[in-house]
Amino acid sequence: MAMVEIKDIKKTYHQGNVTVEALRGIDLTVDTGAFVALAGPSGSGKTTLLNIMGGLDLPDSGIVIVDNNEFSRMTQADLAALRLHKIGFVFQAYNLIPVLSAIENVEYVMLLQGVPATERHDRATAILDDVGLEGKYNRRPAELSGGQQQRVAVARAIVSGPAIVLADEPTANLDSKTGEGLLLMMKKMNKEKQVTFIFSTHDSMVIDYARRLVTIKDGRIVNDETK
């Protein structure tokens, strides 16, 4: 069953007088429970594609369907609700809310979902334990290492029970050991909870862990292989 269906999407950016064709007609289908890496050089369109899949950006043309929701028919508010309930994001720069502790960052998404306080706390504690952050619940992002922050970011992305997690170069700022630990953790969640993971990366380790590798170059898919 398809979690993501993308049909002939195109996206052009205007930077001053320069027009950049970020995506030049992408067709892609990702099944539920997949663990996919989008690889390609910088500027190839990976992040743009990820943003469009996450409803953060809209294509100039083409169709995007995520978990049976077609984006062109949705308002900004609908897209925000979809991101809240169905999509988890992990960013290269962690992007935690700096004034909230680790557990509050994780709880925040559930707060938006309207989960009761006690349940929020219990689920946040459990997921932080799962990602190896026992005893560090009350630390603010500035008091955590890069790897620990990214673990909090992963916990925040999956605590809401999303159908899909979109990770934009999640290991780029981590050392290889920390990065591998994170990948193992996400792989485990993918296996146990059937959460679909799509990474944009040019990290060979991520590519090795992925079960499917989609290579993008100059806004087009140039290779799509399942391992």
């Binding site: 950006d57 925000a80 991101r83 988890g88 994001f89 960013f91 809310i97 700096p98 004034v99 979902q113």
Partner: protein, 412 residues
């Protein structure tokens, strides 16, 4: 504490120096407003009490229409009966009777048209400050039926002094000629030019004889226990006088009816003060506006992330508004507390304005001015600060609603 309130509070203190300065600006504006409004209200109360005690009283009972026409025939027929009713009203400090007539007053050299006011010297001393305003000679006594007090400019114009005689020539209540010779016993200076140039005071009984008034008077002058009680006392007197047939032609007027010029002067002063306060508040509002614009600019990336994880823009705008409210409230509470303490100190000790004591004393005004802290003076200014700073934070909050998550997350 809710998560949003916690986030708002922590966000405020991300830049403690900037927040401290903004809160200080709000606190300072609130402090100034509390103190200055209290000072203005205190001064107004002093002005009103001084003015009413020189001439009008807080309240007057008159025949209906007398205020407009000042016709001799419009009298209170039975002032003693009205007095009996006044004795039952709580909140009255003192009252006295007066009667007024127009007359030509002549000295050896000159003649002027004046208002002759008949006063009860004993009663008047409890109601007005006229006794203390006598600069030369002495105040009237109960035996001074044909003695007079005269304003200093009028005495100068008539070229008369203490114990000189002046001749009155006017018309009595019944149309007869009212004529008498009065001896100047005192010269007063109230500081109110119209009164000092145009009024001669004499004993009420003498006045009633000369002007054929019988036992009638024109005004009952009433001083309430406090300025704040005037409205209630006025209503109580009306209630006492209503329904009695002989009293239905009486009007109960307060100082605002009798001295509309004083009220207008206070209103004008208040308006000019308010303009200054609004300028002060706008300066503070710009400070808040700048703080939040900078905060939003600095946190654009964070807002992008919050949108990415599903936060609605309206929720982020609400968060910023909560931050604004928290910051403003801290400043306002601090300003109200410090401003109130400062006001209470000067309310006890007064503010002495060097070099003015002689002038103030001359007009019956104390040489120290006292601010008057009230619920209105302590809350009105800070409330306006709160509203305007709240409005000034709306624009930055609205900017959040227009953010695009991808552009916001790429913001450096």
């Amino acid at each position: 504490m809710s998560m949003e309130l916690k986030m708002a509070w922590r966000n405020i203190w991300r830049n403690p120096r900037r927040t401290g300065l903004t809160i200080s600006a709000v606190a300072f504006a609130s402090l100034i407003l509390v103190f200055m409004l209290s000072f203005q209200f205190g001064c107004y109360e002093t002005m009103i009490n001084t003015s009413v005690k020189i001439s009008t009283g807080h309240l007057q009972v008159q025949a209906k229409g007398y205020l407009e026409d000042k016709k001799m025939r419009q009298v209170i027929r039975d002032p003693d009966q009205v007095a009996t009713r006044l004795d039952t009203v709580k909140g009255i400090d003192a009252y006295t009777f007066r009667a007024n007539g127009f007359a030509l007053v002549s000295s050896d050299q000159r003649t002027y048209g004046v208002v002759v006011t008949g006063i009860d010297p004993l009663g008047e001393a409890h109601v007005s400050t006229i006794q203390s305003l006598v600069r030369t000679g002495r105040y009237l006594t109960a035996n001074d039926a044909y003695a007079a007090l005269i304003g200093a400019p009028l005495a100068k114009n008539l070229k008369v002094d203490i114990n000189d005689e002046v001749t009155l020539l006017g018309q009595g209540r019944d149309g007869s000629i009212a004529a008498a010779v009065l001896t100047i016993k005192g010269i007063f200076d109230s500081g109110m030019d119209a009164m000092d140039r145009n009024v001669i005071m004499m004993d009420l009984q003498g006045f009633q004889d000369i002007f054929s008034m019988g036992k009638t008077v024109h005004e009952i002058i009433i001083i309430a226990d406090a300025l704040g009680d005037v409205s209630r006392v006025q209503q109580d007197i009306r209630d006492q006088l209503s329904g009695k047939r002989e009293d239905t032609d009486l009007a109960v007027l307060d100082w605002m009816d009798i001295l509309p010029g004083l009220l207008q002067g206070i209103q004008m002063d208040l308006v000019s003060g308010i303009i200054m306060y609004i300028i002060l508040i706008i300066v503070v509002a710009f400070s808040i506006f700048n703080t939040f614009l900078m905060a939003i600019f600095e946190r654009t990336r964070e807002f992008g992330v919050m949108m990415a994880i599903g936060t609605r823009p309206s929720r982020m705008a609400t968060l910023v508004m909560i931050e604004s409210v928290c910051m403003t409230l801290v400043g306002i509470v601090a300003g109200i507390i410090i401003g109130s303490l400062l006001t209470l100190y000067f309310q006890q000790h007064g503010i002495y304005i060097a070099g003015t004591e002689d002038i103030l004393k001359q007009y019956g005004i104390p040489d120290r001015l006292y601010p008057r802290l009230s619920l209105i003076s302590a809350s009105a200014g800070p409330l306006v600060v709160f509203l305007i700073t709240f409005v000034s934070s709306v624009f930055p909050a609205l900017k959040i609603r227009k953010l695009n998550p991808v552009e916001a997350m790429n913001h450096v």
